[in-house]
Symmetry: C2
Subunit: 223 residues, 2 copies
DNA sequence: AGACATCAAACCTCCGATGTATCTGGGGGT
DNA sequence: ACCCCCAGATACATCGGAGGTTTGATGTCT
């Protein structure tokens, strides 16, 4: 195994063993390189790889720190990965979303506070009558993000967020809006909020399923 | 933004734009560094980061290539990330598994071929009467992997596989502290296979739910 | 045709130096 | 006493070059 990969494992070991905890600062490059037995250049490659997946946070002029290691931080590297997928695998991602989103919606129905629900409704209301596509996409993303967050499960929330990669969603949306499906999406969003407000998990889950399945079905035909 | 991060984006762009496809070879370090306008050292950091998430495959003495970009490749970096999580977030991962596994099991019930089912049964049968803990865990992992693969969705399969990492650790615990767990797990596995064989998705889904919930409930009490 | 030695290409590792951002502490002004 | 500004120290960012190691291809010999 290459020296750099060994260094990655060693740093990973320092964290998982508890020697380094969230927020802790690593020794400076020169010291850590000497301790791990490699050059600064090779160490930098290891640190770069770990900072890419949000395990380390490097600040020039300050130092290198272990991040909070919170699920949302570590999993949002997922969206970066998802961006590399081509259209022919989007359906598989969508199928997973059709599993996760309804479940998250059902959980949110039981766990969201009235204040959370009010904010969710506000998201829908702040959209004007004839919004531009960009606002529509952003609004849709925020809507689903709040529901996912309402599930009370940070892992589930991050997963949904990551799988709904901005690129993918934007690409799909562009096509959907051309067929005038924006209005129908809006109605479905409102139906989900209504079901959550009424504290009916089954109903909320069903609406979420229908919502995702609609996009999935459209995409299946388009490909 | 740092030069290295720019380089990452540029390489990403070369792939997403189609200039570089799966299996294609990148220009050699020196040429690519000159083209992107940075030093080889900095470029190497970018390449290292991208190879860590399985987007690039570097082979010493040969060259650097774009991977197949298949979902299972890109998502198995997930297991690396998941390893950083501490025990207090394992419950959240388990809750997500309780969503994904039953769904995958139901899909597998409809999509697995008789040959697939036979191989699944074989996995259960090859386990002796009093296997060591390690074999038990490995067998359990293989069992769930085959079902996930049987769902016919590579993204779903990789996701389940990646999330099973921390759960596995917990299960080792369970094996060590709760003696009756092994036999019960085996019964539940057999029940799942029976339901799949009978082509009863609802039954298979329910058994899968019970199976994961059992681990989850035990862990919830243990913490 | 097959096995082996040789060579070139490409990545791996290292070194030392310079640039740049951040934090810290002292000096001066109010 | 308090605040602001600046110089020094610290630590990461980037660079160019020099060997070393692995791989794949070439060519030769049996």
């Amino acid at each position: 195994m290459a020296l750099t990969d060994e260094a990655i494992d060693k740093i990973k070991g320092m964290i998982t063993s508890g020697e380094l905890g969230p927020g802790d600062r690593l020794p400076k490059e020169a010291d850590l390189a000497e301790r791990l037995g490699l050059s600064r250049n090779s160490l930098r490659e290891a640190v770069k790889a770990l900072s890419m997946i949000r395990v380390l946070d490097v600040r020039q002029g300050d130092g290198t720190y272990v991040t909070s290691l919170a699920p949302d931080l570590l999993l949002d590297a997922l969206s970066f990965v998802v961006d590399f997928h081509r259209d022919d695998t989007v359906l598989q991602f969508l199928e997973v979303r059709r599993i996760l989103e309804p479940a998250a919606t059902a959980l949110a129905t039981e766990r969201m506070t009235p204040a959370d629900i009010a904010k969710l409704q506000a998201v829908l209301d702040e959209l004007g009558d004839d919004p531009p596509i960009e606002a529509l996409v952003a609004n849709d993303l925020e809507f689903h993000r709040q529901i996912a967050a309402g599930s009370g499960n940070a892992v589930l929330c991050s997963l949904i967020d990551g799988l709904s990669g901005p690129t993918t969603r934007a690409r799909i949306w562009r096509g959907l809006t051309q067929e005038g499906a924006a209005a129908r999406t809006r109605e479905q969003h409102q139906a989900i909020v209504d079901a959550i407000t009424a504290r009916q998990p089954d109903l909320a889950r069903s609406w979420a399923t229908i919502h995702v399945a609609g996009v999935e079905e459209w995409l299946r035909r388009a490909l």
